[in-house]
Amino acid sequence: MLDFQNMSQIEQLFDDMEPVNLAGEAFVPSLHAEEIRLDDSEPEAENEEELSSFEDANLGPFQTFGPTEAALPLVAIDAGVLDLGMSRTGFALAFKAAVVEQDVTGTHTVTKIGPQVKFIAPDNRAELLRYVGRSMSNESMFVTMHEDGSCTIKKGATEPNQFKDRIRNFIERMLQVDVVQQLTNGILLVDGALTLRTFNTPQIFLEQLSREAAAHNSEIVGISKKSRITVDGVHIGALLDYDAPDAGYRKINQVDAEGSEADPESRNLGAPFAVRFAPGGFTFRADVTRESLFLNEEAVLDALYANTQMTLGYPNLLRLAHIHSAFTKDEIISLQVQAAHNYQVSMHAPEDLSVIFAPFRKGLGG
């Protein structure tokens, strides 16, 4: 079973940096079923620059997965975040994460983190982001530091969704660090692309992550369920449509957006692929590193395919990580009550705007 040294950093985020003077504030929980999404945060989004770099890329030949006899340990990580409700000036979020490990004998081990509640209010949000940045090697990534030691949030970084993404990403990254420091000769599976230039993770942190994996002869594979990239105008989900309906992949060979000779790997920790893990299955974007003794990224994909079960064309290990990090409705209700209790806020019934347009609910999430 993996040992999680960075858990203390995650715990510190929940234990410290608490808002003060919330007591008595009205707290409106997200009570309506149609407002509750069981995991309403996307992994690291692809930025526009990255998307344009794919447009002019070319595709490698379609290859079916090759045989491999090497048994590898695999680890999948996923983290979820959920909006619990709003107070007058702040909002409450819940976080949950899971690490699923499969050793060389095929035995699975699960580590669950949370669910935990964090109330984000004007008096703690800058400190929180500062802590998150510092934990990922760049204290001023999200905040502007002042000479007196105080900090303010950088412009455009105060939306609730940005807090959700950043804290969720922080938890996931801390767990990734723990895993790559222990995973030897294995593959770490993460939900999302391995894009280097993101809004939520300092590039230096990702590079350190990559070096750590290399030091342990391990690889990182990022699987994107909802990639927006297109190659030559074709969406990633359709890139393998004219290939044989077998399980296989095509490498996406990027060129610089402006046709220069810039190294495409400077935008991505690994090499991007369009992958279909099961005959007739969905096509995903997969970013594959090659830090270990594998001959190439294709060999990493072959090893991944050979060592993990696929469920409807998706790596089961990631599916399990998603299952264990997803919120159930009963948890949401419990966490809302807990948030109200812990922060001494007064729970108020949400305003149901749907009555205005009833029975026509379009646009209200119904």
């Binding site: 715990e11 580590t111 009963d330 419990s334």
Partner: protein, 498 residues
């Protein structure tokens, strides 16, 4: 507790298992609209698990986690005080009454509060007050409530028709014995038809000559110490018994004629003897045979004599005055300080003999009910084993006229005729899991089928639900009393030592 919804006369509450005070089947609650002074009175009839939207997901995940194997799941930073939906339970209740603004309980007229309600327990004192059980007249102590308060019912409320039913071994005879002992305590005479020697260990009636010093049980063991005299058996019973041997019409007519003449003379003579302070005349079957020796066709005589021989073979009738116990006299003893005549039917081997014997005894009961100073309380243990349906029906339908109170103690309630069920004044329901039994007993007029179904399958051993006249038609669950110093066990033979 929180109100979840109301549907028909049913309310569903949610409650938290982790709280100290949890609802129990049988508990009653006020559901009062906040700001109003009217309430519903609802009684919990079933506790269930709460089915919440993500239940399947939660269970699947728990099963998955279990399947990883021991020590294969570790958890960090789990919240310590998050309330758990798993702890929620669902309590189904029936609306029983409506409490008006004056605090009085009345029939529920369909009024409902909004969801903005306050829910509070109705304590035993208040429940008893509204059910007329707070200070019952001539109280019969049956046990204690779930909260430990003494539970007694008014003596008169138990009169006429009662049913005690349960699965075998759940304590129905125990409850019947508690009732008998309480009636004795109130100096009432009882008669128990005991098929399995269940009641023979009740405290014995003590007397000095004809003066009773302590009320208790007199065991009348059929064919042994309790053989009836012909005059005690009575003319109607004797003719009825004779008829059961299918005589031809001329034979029956002749028998009826001469038996009626015999009883007319007997009554006349006994009347005269009473006036002279002499003992009553004793009649046995030999005397009856003698009535058919003269002025009768030989065919008819032979037909009568042969049937009287069959009747003698039943061993029911006393041959000498010493053998015959007068039911009337024993009953009179029970009238003095209270007592129970336990009619032990175990020695009777055939159903016909039992039916005959019980029918005759019931005739005697009816007679003493008419002539005695106190009305009898009759307990039938598994009546279908020894009493004909029409005989029971006859007794039940005339109960109010006769003044005889009948209590049927049975684990085969389906054998009780619907006519009897419809006449029931009180139902004592113990654990009864079989649906057929529940459906049948629900035909009694005391309450609805859902209530019977819910309680019958959820009552602990030695607990009972009482409903009917005795409880103001409000179902009350109680733990049946265990009288001190009384051997309540029956007589059961076992092959294996304990």
């Amino acid at each position: 507790m929180r109100l979840h919804h109301v549907s028909g006369d049913e309310i569903v509450f949610l409650y938290d298992h982790s709280q100290a005070s949890q609802p129990r089947v049988g508990d009653s609650y006020y559901v009062r609209e906040i700001g109003g002074d009217e309430s519903l009175v609802a009684q919990i009839v079933a506790l269930e698990t709460f089915d919440y939207p993500s239940l399947s997901e939660v269970l699947m995940r728990q099963l998955m986690e279990a399947s990883y194997g021991e020590g294969r799941v570790q958890t960090f930073t789990e919240p310590t005080n998050a309330p758990q939906v798993d702890n929620l339970g669902q309590a189904r209740a029936k609306i029983r009454r409506r409490r008006g603004s004056d605090g009085q309980w009345g029939i529920w007229n369909g009024w409902l509060p909004s969801r903005n309600v306050e829910i509070s327990r109705v304590d035993d004192e208040e429940l008893f007050q509204h059910c007329g059980l707070l200070n019952p007249n001539h109280p019969l102590a049956l046990g204690q409530t779930l909260d430990g308060r003494a539970f007694s019912i008014a003596g008169r409320s138990i009169e006429k028709i009662n049913i005690i039913t349960a699965l075998k071994g759940m304590g129905k005879s125990h409850l019947a014995k508690v009732l008998v002992l309480e009636l004795i305590d109130k100096k009432m005479p009882c008669v128990v038809f005991d098929l399995n020697r269940e009641y023979i260990h009740l405290p014995e009636l003590k007397r000095e000559h004809n003066q009773v010093t302590k009320g208790g049980a007199i065991i009348l063991s059929a064919t042994k110490n309790f053989r009836v005299t012909v005059e005690g058996f009575g003319r109607r019973a004797l003719i009825s018994l004779f008829r059961s041997y299918s005589p031809a019409e001329p034979t029956l007519n002749e028998f009826e004629l001469r038996i009626n003449q015999m009883f007319d003379q007997l009554e006349h003579q006994n009347f005269a003897r009473r006036g002279q302070g002499k003992t009553q005349q004793f009649i046995n079957l030999d005397y009856v045979r003698g009535r058919f020796s003269n002025n009768i066709s030989s065919y008819v005589r032979d037909a009568v004599i042969s049937r009287l021989n069959y009747i003698e073979g039943l061993n029911l009738f006393a041959k000498s005055p010493e053998e015959g116990i007068s039911f009337d006299e024993q009953y009179a003893l029970c009238e003095q300080l209270g007592g129970v005549l336990v009619v032990d039917l175990a020695p009777l081997n055939s159903k016909f003999a039992r039916e005959t014997f019980v029918e005759a005894t019931l005739d005697m009961v009816e007679r003493v009910a008419a002539t005695g100073t106190k009305l009898p309380f009759v307990f039938f243990e598994e009546a279908h084993r020894y009493a004909k349906g029409d005989r029971i029906e006859n007794l039940v339908t005339r109960a109010r006229h006769l003044g005889v109170t009948s209590t049927f103690v049975t684990n085969m309630v389906t054998q009780l005729d619907e006519t009897v069920l419809r006449q029931v004044d009180n139902l004592f329901l113990l654990y009864l899991p079989h649906k057929d039994d529940v459906r049948h007993v629900a035909k009694s007029a005391t309450t609805d089928e859902e209530t019977v179904t819910s309680f019958a399958q959820r009552i602990e051993k030695h607990h009972a639900m009482a409903i009917g006249q005795a409880t103001g038609n409000y179902p009350i669950v109680f733990k049946v009393a265990t009288p001190d110093g009384v051997d309540m066990a029956g007589e059961t033979k076992y092959a294996f030592p304990e």
